[in-house]
């Protein structure tokens, strides 16, 4: 009772990174709150799930194995969580801010009348004082997220309703195994007790899932472009530099909106969060929503024709110049000096 639950995203029997990251975060929250970490897996042929998640410190794995639960559809997974949560009364429930978690989370929170905060960038434990009611709440989950296009950061709490629900994007939390030999318990759920036949109203006719070809999140070097790059053509220079240095190309929201680059390359609050060894920001002004997704890069080089671009403030090196001028020189001098 009153434990921390993580909903597991499963594709082809593999638990998604975002879920493993949440298990890692959930474990540290459970330690702080002196409760247990539990996980929910819903899908088909889930025998291999336990060995994937127990090393992260999952004490109880709730397993709903039913052919009809895969692929994911909204209503059956909602009913499963709603009824399981009514039974188990978790204090916190976490899920990925993915196309599944952002479909499922709101529906579950509405059914339980429990607050949900989307796209949290940080989760902490703390107190909250409701001055009007003269009440102090201990050990609440602080759900911290950027709002208003990333220009402010809000700390949200759910004082009275349980579970306290939050979604988090992939890559925001770090995943870390607790103990490869950790042995949790598996609890098999009798699916018809939780999910009604009438929940299966939406059918998936076709489905093409691709393993992401890009690995921006895992790339040690990222050459990223903004609106200031000027054109999709100039973005080719970024690709050339990235290929030369062995990195990946990223983009700001403005560059994606302008059609210079694909959506899957977007870095920032509404894209991917990255922490590379080197981040080269080309023609990026540095809107807060972008900076939020790359500020933890070990080294940042900003190339901008505007010497007052906000991104310069967080850069280690500021090159005042245009992309057309600077990038070919970087390529040339890298080739000349590397062995």
């Amino acid at each position: 009772m009153n434990n921390i639950f993580v909903y597991l995203e499963i594709e082809d029997g593999i638990v998604g990174d975002v879920s493993l990251e949440l298990l890692t975060k959930g474990r540290s929250l459970a330690k702080q709150l002196n409760c247990k970490l539990e996980a929910v897996a819903a899908g088909y042929k889930l025998d291999g799930i336990g060995e994937q998640v127990f090393p992260y410190g999952v004490e109880v794995l709730h397993l709903a194995d039913d052919k009809r639960l895969a692929p994911y559809t909204s209503l059956p997974h909602t009913s499963l969580l709603v009824n399981l949560f009514k039974e188990e009364k978790p204090q916190i429930a976490l899920m990925g801010a993915t196309s599944i978690g952002r479909d499922l989370g709101p529906r579950v929170s509405s059914a339980l009348f429990s607050g949900l905060t989307a796209d949290c960038t940080s989760l902490e434990v703390g107190t909250y004082e409701d001055k009007k009611a003269g009440k102090v709440y201990e050990n609440l989950l602080y759900q911290i997220r950027p709002a208003f296009g990333g220009n402010i950061v809000a700390t949200i709490v759910n004082p009275d309703c349980r579970p306290q629900m939050a979604t988090v994007r992939e890559g925001v939390m770090k995943k870390e195994i607790k103990d490869p030999k950790f042995a949790g318990k598996t609890r098999k759920l009798e699916v018809p007790k939780y999910v009604a036949d009438t929940d299966f109203v939406v059918e998936v006719i076709e489905r093409h899932m691709e393993k992401s070809k890009l690995n921006i999140k895992g790339s040690p070097i990222i050459v990223s472009g903004g609106y200031g790059v000027g054109s999709a053509d100039n973005f080719k220079l970024l690709h050339e530099l990235a290929a030369t240095l062995g990195g990946e190309v990223g983009a700001s929201r403005a560059a994606v909106d302008a059609g210079f680059s694909e959506h899957e390359r977007q870095i920032g609050q509404t894209g991917t969060t990255v922490r590379p060894k080197l981040y080269i920001a080309c023609g990026i002004s540095g809107q807060i929503q972008h900076i939020a997704g790359m500020q933890e890069s070990a080294m940042i080089i900003a190339i901008n024709s505007d010497p007052k671009a906000p991104i310069n403030q967080i850069a280690d090196y500021v090159i005042t110049g245009t992309v057309e001028d600077v990038l070919p020189k970087m390529i040339k001098y890298y080739k000349k000096n590397s062995k």
């Binding site: 692929p71 909204s74 909602t78 196309s99 479909d103 709101p106 529906r107 509405s110 009348f113 905060t117 989307a118 909250y128 602080y142 950027p146 709002a147 208003f148 296009g149 990333g150 220009n151 402010i152 950061v153 809000a154 700390t155 949200i156 709490v157 759910n158 004082p159 109203v201 939406v202 059918e203 998936v204 006719i205 076709e206 489905r207 093409h208 899932m209 691709e210 070097i221 240095l245 062995g246 929201r253 909106d257 080197l278 807060i288 939020a292 080089i301 403030q313 967080i314 850069a315 280690d316 500021v318 090159i319 245009t322 001028d325 600077v326 020189k329 970087m330 000349k336 000096n337 590397s338």
Partner: protein
């Protein structure tokens, strides 16, 4: 046969273009400096609705929005593009609503509208980026949902077929009506204003707007009922007050902080050959690259 489509839309501050003018000296956002716009993905939703309207005989498209009096602007904007009319839900009782209280209020208003066959809305609004209101309205109404829609492919025999664009793929799903569909920004762009419709609906107004204009146009509007934008307050919808506004919002904002990044001490370089070459040498020497 009638087929009633309701589009949920929101007027939002244009957070995508927070320029230097939009930040006050103390670093806070100057909301007044941000233009109020039609939430972009709601326009994608409107386009899907208008396409159905042209395919299905007797189909109507109405906008439902919750907001202050000026939010009637987006209802008019929708009418210029082909919508039949709209409903503005407005009142201080709705203030301070989180996504759940908002969804409850919208669900009450949809029940009041009556027979609704399809509800479409944008996946998310750019001021909150939560993507919660669509699914929560569906849950409140006990309807199924299809999120991340890119295109409504078919609507026949009381079933809707939708192509969904997900982070890592594409799905085609089929489900029964009535249904709530939330539409992605990757869907077709909304058609522009239609000149004739813009002329026709230019003076469409809510009761509040008519009052504020000060002139007595009663006869004018009585003879042109299509220019009346329905305006509802809390007393017009059947509701339980405890689920509205602040009391109906399980989430509370504990704290708001402006984002301030700690400035680093940065090295300034020019684009000269010498400086770029030195930089590349340095990066190679400290194993950042190479």
């Amino acid at each position: 046969m009638s087929f009633n489509i309701v589009v949920l839309a929101k007027q939002v501050p244009d957070t995508r273009n927070v320029g230097k003018d939009a930040m006050k000296a103390d670093g806070t956002v100057n909301r007044a400096a941000l233009p109020a716009i039609y939430n972009p993905e709601d326009l994608n939703a409107l386009e899907q609705a208008l396409r159905l309207k042209s395919k299905i005989e007797g189909a109507t498209v109405h906008i439902l929005t919750m907001g202050p009096a000026r939010a009637a602007e987006i209802i008019r904007e929708s009418m210029y593009r082909g919508a039949d009319g709209g409903y503005l839900l407005s009142g201080r009782e709705f203030a301070g609503s989180d996504t759940l209280a908002t969804s409850y209020a919208l669900a009450c208003a949809i029940r009041k509208i009556g027979k609704v066959d399809l509800i479409v809305c944008g996946r998310q609004a750019i001021d909150g980026d939560t993507a919660q209101v669509g699914p929560q309205v569906a849950e409140k109404l006990g309807l199924p949902q299809i999120t991340y829609a890119e295109e409504i492919l078919d609507l026949s025999k009381n079933k809707i077929t939708v192509k969904r664009r997900l982070e890592r793929g594409v799905e085609v799903v089929k489900g029964p009506l009535p249904m709530v569909v939330t539409v992605n920004g990757s869907a077709a762009e909304c058609r522009p204003r239609h000149a004739k419709l813009t002329m026709k609906y230019k003076r469409a107004a809510t009761a509040t707007e008519k009052q504020e204009s000060g002139n007595d146009y009663t006869d004018f509007y009585d003879s042109r009922p299509y220019l009346n934008i329905t305006e509802w307050g809390v007393s017009d919808i059947e509701h339980d007050i405890q689920w509205l506004g602040l009391t109906g919002s399980p989430t509370k904002v504990k704290q708001i902080e402006n984002v301030v990044f700690t400035a680093k001490e940065s090295k300034r370089l020019t684009a000269s050959d010498v400086e770029i070459e030195d930089l590349m040498k340095e990066l190679i020497a400290n194993h950042t690259i190479g």
